[in-house]
């Protein structure tokens, strides 16, 4: 089938502001949006620029706005979109070029929640024990691939400085891990005014997550931990 992709373009070397360009390509209905983008780049216009790597939804490189929604280009099939497709970079980040945005502020938010296991007790010779029930408490938030679909879908993030959903998801992953001992420090970070309280439970993040993580739910669980443990 033939589809038309309307893609936002911007090259800082030549353009003063972003503009749109249309490409028409012949694709299979079961092709991914990424396949269409690659086809354009490889055979029509080599200057079209985007990130991609694994091409099946696990590396998180190709998050972008597809018909207004944040999605991974490799996880959306053409047949689910129809013949007119608009593609734009994620909102809320500086555009480096075309669909490539500056992810550094996003990773800075991630680093701010101390996204690593902290436990200074001498470890046992073998593994630390953790029951399947304890393991299940944070299973959902281990799935995060740091693609930024959630954070870039958050209206609060568009206008206000705050940690954003992805960083909180990754804080949750350690806060609810029975092996971690740094809950107090993490909750103190999350309790600041740029922390969890900026969330207005809009649920855009949950809807945007390509891994199906219940992002808003995780944020609410963190809020409850702060209310019941910090007060």
């Amino acid at each position: 089938m033939q589809v038309t992709l309307r893609i936002q373009r911007f090259n800082p070397e030549t353009d003063s502001k972003p503009y749109y360009r249309e490409y028409t390509v012949e694709v299979e209905p079961t092709d991914r949006v990424l396949d269409a983008l690659n086809y354009i780049k490889w055979y029509q216009d080599g200057t079209l620029t985007f990130r991609r790597s694994c091409a099946h939804g696990v590396c998180g490189s190709d998050a972008m706005r597809i018909n207004g929604r944040n999605r991974l280009a490799c996880k959306v099939l053409i047949k689910d979109l129809g013949p007119k497709i608009t593609i734009e970079p994620l909102l809320g980040f500086r555009i480096i070029r075309d669909l490539v945005v500056d992810m550094e502020p996003f990773f800075a938010q991630y680093r701010a929640v101390m996204p690593y296991l902290i436990n200074d007790e001498p470890p046992p010779v073998r593994e630390r024990l953790q029951s399947p029930e304890e393991r299940a408490l944070y299973d959902d938030t281990t799935k995060c691939i740091l693609c930024a679909c959630c954070t870039a879908a958050c209206p609060i993030f568009w206008t206000t400085e705050w940690l954003g959903p992805a960083a909180i998801v990754n804080a949750h992953r350690f806060l609810f891990d029975s092996r971690d001992r740094a809950a107090e420090e993490r909750l103190a970070i999350l309790n600041q005014k740029f922390g969890v309280w900026r969330c207005r439970t809009i649920f855009n993040c949950t809807e945007a997550c390509p891994r199906g993580i219940q992002v808003t739910n995780a944020i609410e669980q963190v809020k409850r931990r702060i209310l019941f443990e910090q007060s």
């Binding site: 090259n11 800082p12 070397e13 030549t14 079961t30 991914r32 780049k41 490889w42 055979y43 216009d45 080599g46 200057t47 620029t49 985007f50 990130r51 991609r52 790597s53 694994c54 091409a55 099946h56 939804g57 696990v58 590396c59 998180g60 490189s61 996880k75 099939l77 480096i96 070029r97 490539v100 992810m103 990773f107 680093r111 101390m114 996204p115 690593y116 296991l117 902290i118 470890p123 010779v125 073998r126 593994e127 630390r128 024990l129 953790q130 029951s131 399947p132 304890e134 393991r135 944070y138 299973d139 281990t142 799935k143 691939i145 740091l146 350690f174 891990d177 092996r179 971690d180 199906g212």
Partner: protein, 575 residues
């Protein structure tokens, strides 16, 4: 721009990050990565990481070692396999202490599942050896190691692409040259020790489970700098890739009880591996699939067969194979709970690569002479623990065990050695390559050449090979090499020029393909993943040896080095 670090690690997948974790805080270390570290292809590994923990049934490291040696069709260096199997246990425990979220047994220990080729008591039957986190074990390893690296405050250069390796005339490694993809600027990294951990080159094939970034950068650059490559003819096709797309459906599907069926609905592995059935090693299963297809027993006479999970309890599919279920639903519109899944073998893993010893030191000849200051680990390296065919889950073991050993050896090395002076104009080759590609006004498109390369490799260097096919392939590669000199790219800008990146990567792929083709043509036997229809038997008398292929001024040069055999004498391989 000039940087100076005691140690530079190229690649931020499992091996690179594991090494970085050993060095961080102990010396001045930087990690250069073409992608953001969490995008590395380690994250796509699914089913598990083997270690003889014996958590759910009796197991011993020596059984793991034996399986690794036999799985590799006895081309494995057994001293290295022993290190792998012994240290896997320690490495898994270390990962757990760093926070790896393993699936757990009811009593809270690390749970273990079955995987292809892993057996109890030297081949008696399948054993539960693969530690795992659902079907996203690689994702969890990558996350845990990146988190650990952040905790240890490793310096990262994200989206920097290595273009050159700096070696002095007397063969000492002094650093690397890399391009900042965002700006196009070249950076010189002066180092006492360099680790290549750049991953594989699955993108030489048309149907592959590998990421678009898996273009053999480190392997090709080492090759260009005169370092020989080892056992490049051994390339693994994973039996269960999604038909046409190549997306991996983990061996864990079969570890949890999944069955392969041909077009007639038969469980055809009964004929090929009566004991291990669907859990035979990958080379055997992939060949069996193609033999069924060739005998007209593919589905509807086509080139695929079924993966059947429909007899598994739905909760096993949903909880132990959630990502695979998601892939099948997303890309095929099928439900593994009630539908059969169309699969075909997909290019998956390079057993060969840059030769190293068990401490990750890159070696340059048959006598294993190391290059001072140069290390390699992970898929780009060849220790060799995988021999002619890697067992499932052993790639992740390889990353953590040998990434760790390389990191530790580098630490000793940088403490005992000084910086060597850099060569004059260290970036001249890298600069020339970039300028040539940007300015060349030819007529060939990179994508066209790459597609032809991938098609030719799939046809003539895939699961089945012949002398005639490999000669035809070499001719094609020669033609592609010539046409590569006539490429033209549309994108002339410096900012995030991914067309430039892809053009450079195509050069790397061509190097890898040439090494594969020549090594495969020379090896006149069938062993592990290298199957020659004109030489269908394994030939230990002549070919129980590792291939080394080097690029010299006189063309490609082959030599061979002995296999290290310590505990297990080669035997016929039946499962």
């Amino acid at each position: 721009m000039y940087h100076r670090f005691d140690a530079v690690i190229v690649g931020a997948g499992g091996a690179g990050l594991m090494a970085a974790a050993q060095l961080a805080g102990q010396c001045n270390v930087a990690v250069i990565s073409k992608l953001y570290p969490v995008r590395s292809h380690t994250g796509a590994a699914q089913g598990g990481i083997a270690a003889a923990l014996g958590n759910v049934e009796e197991d011993h490291w020596i059984w793991h070692m034996f399986d690794t040696v036999k799985g590799g069709d006895y081309l494995v260096d057994q001293d290295a396999a022993e290190v792998l199997a012994r240290e896997a246990i320690d490495a898994i425990i270390e990962l757990e202490h760093w926070g790896f979220p393993f699936n757990r047994t009811p009593d809270g220990r690390i749970d273990q599942r079955r995987f292809g080729g892993h057996t109890r008591n030297f081949g008696e039957g399948p054993v539960r050896r693969a530690c795992y986190a659902a079907d996203r074990t690689g994702h969890m390893i990558l996350q845990t190691l990146y988190q650990t690296a952040l905790k240890k405050q490793v310096t990262f250069f994200d989206e920097f692409m290595m273009l050159d390796l700096l070696l002095t005339d007397d063969g000492v490694c002094t650093g690397v040259v890399a391009m900042d993809i965002e700006t196009g600027e070249l950076h010189i990294f002066h180092a006492k020790a360099v680790l290549l951990a750049t991953g594989g080159f699955g993108r030489v094939y048309k149907v592959t489970s590998n990421a678009l970034a898996a273009t053999g950068d480190g392997v090709a650059i080492a090759f260009r700098r005169g370092i020989p490559l080892e056992d490049m003819e051994f390339y693994q096709f994973h039996p269960t890739g999604i038909y046409k797309m190549g997306i991996l459906l983990s061996e864990a599907c079969r570890g949890e009880g999944g069955i392969l069926r041909n077009g007639l609905g038969e469980r055809f592995m009964e004929r090929y591996a009566p004991t291990l059935l669907d859990l035979a090693p990958r080379d055997m299963v992939s060949r069996a699939i193609y033999q069924e297809i060739r005998a007209g027993r593919g589905v509807d006479g086509k080139d695929y067969v079924w993966l059947d999970l429909t007899h598994l309890p739905p909760e096993v599919i949903e909880t132990k194979l959630p990502d695979i279920t998601d892939f099948v639903r997303t890309y095929l519109g099928l439900d593994p709970v009630k539908d059969l899944i169309p699969i075909q073998p997909t290019a998956h893993y390079a057993m060969g690569g840059i030769p190293t010893d068990v401490d990750g030191r890159v070696t340059i000849d048959e006598k294993n002479t190391p290059i001072p200051g140069l290390y390699a680990a992970g898929e780009c390296a060849c220790v060799s623990v995988h021999g002619a065919n890697r067992l499932g889950t052993n790639s992740l073991v390889d990353l953590v065990v040998f990434g760790r050993r390389a990191g530790r050896h580098m630490l000793t090395f940088v403490r005992e050695n000084d910086f060597h002076p850099l060569p004059k104009e260290p970036d001249y080759r890298a600069r020339a390559e970039v300028e040539w590609i940007l300015e060349n006004e030819g007529t060939e498109r990179v994508a066209t050449l790459r597609a032809e390369l991938q098609e030719a490799m799939m046809t003539d260097a895939g699961v089945f090979r012949t002398g005639d096919g490999l000669k035809r392939l070499q001719q094609k590669l020669g033609e592609l090499r010539t046409r590569y000199s006539q490429i033209r790219i549309d994108d002339k800008s410096r900012t995030f020029n991914m067309e430039l990146v892809e053009a450079i990567e195509l050069g790397f792929l061509l190097d890898c393909a040439e090494a594969i083709a020549a090594s495969a043509l020379a090896r006149e036997e069938s062993r592990g993943a290298h199957y020659r229809e004109d030489f269908p038997a394994r030939d230990d008398a002549n070919w129980l040896k590792h291939t080394l292929i080097a690029r010299t001024s006189g063309g490609l040069q082959l030599s061979y080095k002995p296999v290290v055999i310590t505990r297990f004498e080669p035997k016929e391989r039946v499962y």
